[in-house]
């Protein structure tokens, strides 16, 4: 298979005093070369923890309990610190929501970029500097040679995020994980960043996992979408399929509660209740208490992932689409 990343049955739990929090519970997906996967969910759905688990950034009390993460065929779960360090920043890069968290405020941009190159290969300082400048030019920072000497606070929010992206791209990773990188930005700036990311990934064949709560961004950017709820993937599929004909009631609820899709002035269709606490999930389907179609079985047993035509998957006892008949059950 030509998949850059294959995640199967990934489970990441946090042991807390209040009990085990199953932040990620049996998540499986794959991303191909040059593909953009939108990982969508509300706060507390486990989407960021999934991203961090792939990067090997889950700290105690959290740990990867089971499952496998394969990057280009190589297993990442159980890899020692040294092995993970060689991969992080080289094969997989991550872009965070707040670039000020990624960038060191007391170091100049050039120092930080050269450091990122040095960590993975031996080059002369001159060559590293040239590569850093190239990377800044690639993400559209004007006067890159001068800007290399600037400190992070001398950049605007949008420009800072571009620097973070440039650093992520430095070592030509095969996968970039972007965790809400445009959420804090203004509309016109967000659009500039999205345009850049789209172009860069298409050119270099880098796979991209775009973690977001914003379905509208995913609609424009991603090829495939994976919707998470309470630590589980509830639905995956191609963007057109999932957004036009959602199988899972949660996906449909999310789509219908978007104000931009409603009729102005009319009440929005709302999902009643709120996201459950991950420490105290209901015994059956986690969405059942909020679901209009829930029946007795939903409250009793958690649904398995069901495969539908066109590489779709939904985890629901009563999926919507009557046209798409399930073709079989996954192993889990």
């Amino acid at each position: 298979m030509g998949n850059v990343l294959e995640v199967s049955n990934l489970a990441t739990y946090f042991e807390t005093r209040a009990g085990t929090v199953k932040a990620v519970d049996g998540v499986s997906f794959a991303v191909g070369r040059g593909e953009v996967l939108g990982l969508v969910g509300e706060s507390g759905s486990g989407k960021s923890v999934t991203g961090c688990a792939i990067m090997g950034l889950v700290d105690p009390p959290g740990r990867i309990v089971s499952g496998s993460i394969k990057l280009g065929g190589k297993e990442l779960v159980g890899l020692d610190d040294q092995g993970m360090r060689a991969i992080r920043g080289k094969e997989i890069s991550m872009i965070f929501q707040d670039p000020m968290m990624t960038l060191n405020p007391v170091l100049r941009i050039d120092t930080q970029m050269i450091e990122a190159i040095d960590a993975h290969e031996k080059t002369s300082k001159k060559a590293a500097l040239a590569r850093a400048q190239q990377a800044l030019e690639k993400v559209g920072i004007p006067a890159a040679a001068d800007r290399l000497k600037a400190y992070p606070h001398q950049f605007s929010g949008g420009m800072r995020q571009r620097v973070a992206i440039a650093i992520a791209l430095l070592n030509n990773p095969s996968l970039i994980i972007a965790d809400e990188p445009t959420t804090a930005l203004d509309v016109t700036i967000q659009s500039q960043i999205l345009a850049k990311m789209q172009e860069l990934c298409a050119d270099s064949g880098t796979a991209l996992i775009w973690i977001t709560h914003d379905l509208t961004v995913v609609a424009g950017l991603a090829h495939r979408v994976a919707v998470m709820y309470a630590g589980r993937l509830v639905e995956t599929g191609f963007v057109d399929d999932v957004l036009d004909h959602p199988l899972h009631p949660y996906t449909r609820g999310l789509l219908r509660s978007l104000p931009s899709e409603g009729i102005p002035g009319q009440p929005l269709e709302q999902i009643p209740g709120m996201t459950p606490s991950l420490g105290r999930l209901p015994p059956g389907c986690a969405f059942a208490p909020r679901c209009r179609n829930a029946t007795e079985i939903c409250h009793r047993s958690s649904p398995e992932g069901t495969v539908f035509p066109n590489q779709r998957l939904a985890r629901c006892h009563h999926p919507f689409d009557s046209v798409a008949q399930p073709v079989g059950l996954t192993e889990r």
Binding site: E42, S43, S156, G158, M159, D186, V187, T188, I189, Q190, S191, Q192, L194, A195, Q198, H213, D214, L215, T216, V217, A219, G220, L221, H223, V239, D240, L243, G253, L254, L255, S257, L258, P259, S260, E261, G262, P264, G265, P267, L268, E269, Q270, I271, M274, T275
Partner: protein
């Protein structure tokens, strides 16, 4: 217009000035030339809101929308211009009138956690203002708070709890309950749903619409989210760097924006319908309000700018009934 409007602003400006600090003043003694820094947060805005209307105020960060909202709510004094409440200049009111007016205009903030006192119980948060202003007696506050909590969709049994014991959506409702407690006529909502998850945001937006009908409220709804504004507003005002660039009925604006900035803004809003879009965008960054560009503030980023735009600042002029736009294209061209 001003007689029937509930709030009207005429020529409102707000400037924030940072005085020269001690080091700067010492340096000035030695011949340096440090000037006080002035931010033109809002410059010369005229806006009238009629009772029952929902006005959406849209713009990117630093455009002055929050400052404008705070001036309406009486948190900031305008540097220039006058604000009238029900046709009466706020500055010429007697003390009682002014208090009445400022009680009638309430504000709901973005982050409920930073606007609710973490050490106060919900009952105290909601009842503090009405008791102080003599709307209710201290003895009846339990019943009063219960009715208000019911109105915003919260169970009255929660009233003895502290803000941290609630979820984000519930906290937003507490913020709304606090504002409603003094029987306002006009609510200024500053990014009130921005921090909420989509499914919770829909619940709160529905609450806003319900309250508008039930209590006959007027809203100034400030948001950067055009989807939210489109859904809620009757009329939309778009601001850029302290100036209003376009105002129009919501439906007309979203169908056919007139100002190049409005066009760019609408074009760049991601929607569900646009799949695998080639994101393309207007160039450049939002300039600093510390020294805005000459002429039209938008000209360095505008795809249609001409020589006139960098020299002459366009004024807001009517382009059709109920619509105004500040662009030279509507007035003899950019040449």
């Amino acid at each position: 217009m001003s007689t029937e409007s509930i709030i009207s602003m005429q020529g409102i400006s707000k400037r924030f000035t940072t005085p020269v600090d001690l080091a700067g003043r010492l340096a000035n003694l030695l011949g340096a030339n440090h000037q006080p820094q002035t931010v033109h947060a809002v410059s010369d805005v005229n806006l009238a809101v009629i009772p029952g209307e929902v006005v959406g105020l849209v713009g990117e960060s630093g455009c002055g929308k929050s400052t404008l909202g705070r001036m309406v709510a009486g948190i900031y004094e305008p540097t220039e211009g006058k604000i009238s409440y029900q046709g009466k200049d706020m500055r010429l009111m007697t003390q009682t009138e002014a208090r009445q007016a400022s009680l009638s205009v309430q504000m709901i903030f973005q982050d409920p956690m930073s606007s609710l006192n973490p050490r106060m119980r919900v009952i105290d948060i909601v009842s503090e203002a009405p008791v102080y202003h003599g709307i209710i007696e201290s003895a009846e506050r339990g019943d009063y708070v219960a009715t208000i909590l019911k109105k915003v969709g919260l169970d009255p049994v929660f009233m003895q709890r502290y803000p941290h014991q609630f979820s984000g959506g519930q906290r937003a409702r507490i913020g709304i309950a606090r504002a409603l407690a003094v029987n306002p006529k006009f609510l200024v909502c500053d990014e009130s749903v921005a921090a909420l998850d989509v499914s919770i945001q829909a619940q709160v937006l529905n609450l806003f619409m319900l309250l508008r009908q039930e209590l006959n409220l007027t809203y100034l709804f400030i948001s950067h989210d055009l989807g939210v504004v489109r859904h809620l507003s009757d009329r939309v005002v778009i601001m850029y760097l302290g100036c209003v660039v376009e105002t129009a009925p919501a439906a007309e604006l979203f169908d056919a924006p007139n100002h190049p900035y409005s066009q760019a803004l609408l074009e760049n809003v991601p929607t569900l319908k646009l799949r695998h879009k080639r994101f393309s965008s207007i160039k450049g960054e939002i300039p600093s309000p510390m020294n805005p560009p000459t002429g039209c503030h938008f000209h360095p980023r505008c795809p249609k700018a001409g020589p006139r735009c960098s020299v002459e600042q366009p004024v807001l002029r009517p382009i059709s009934t109920g619509r105004q736009s500040a662009c030279h294209l509507n007035d003899g061209g950019v040449g």
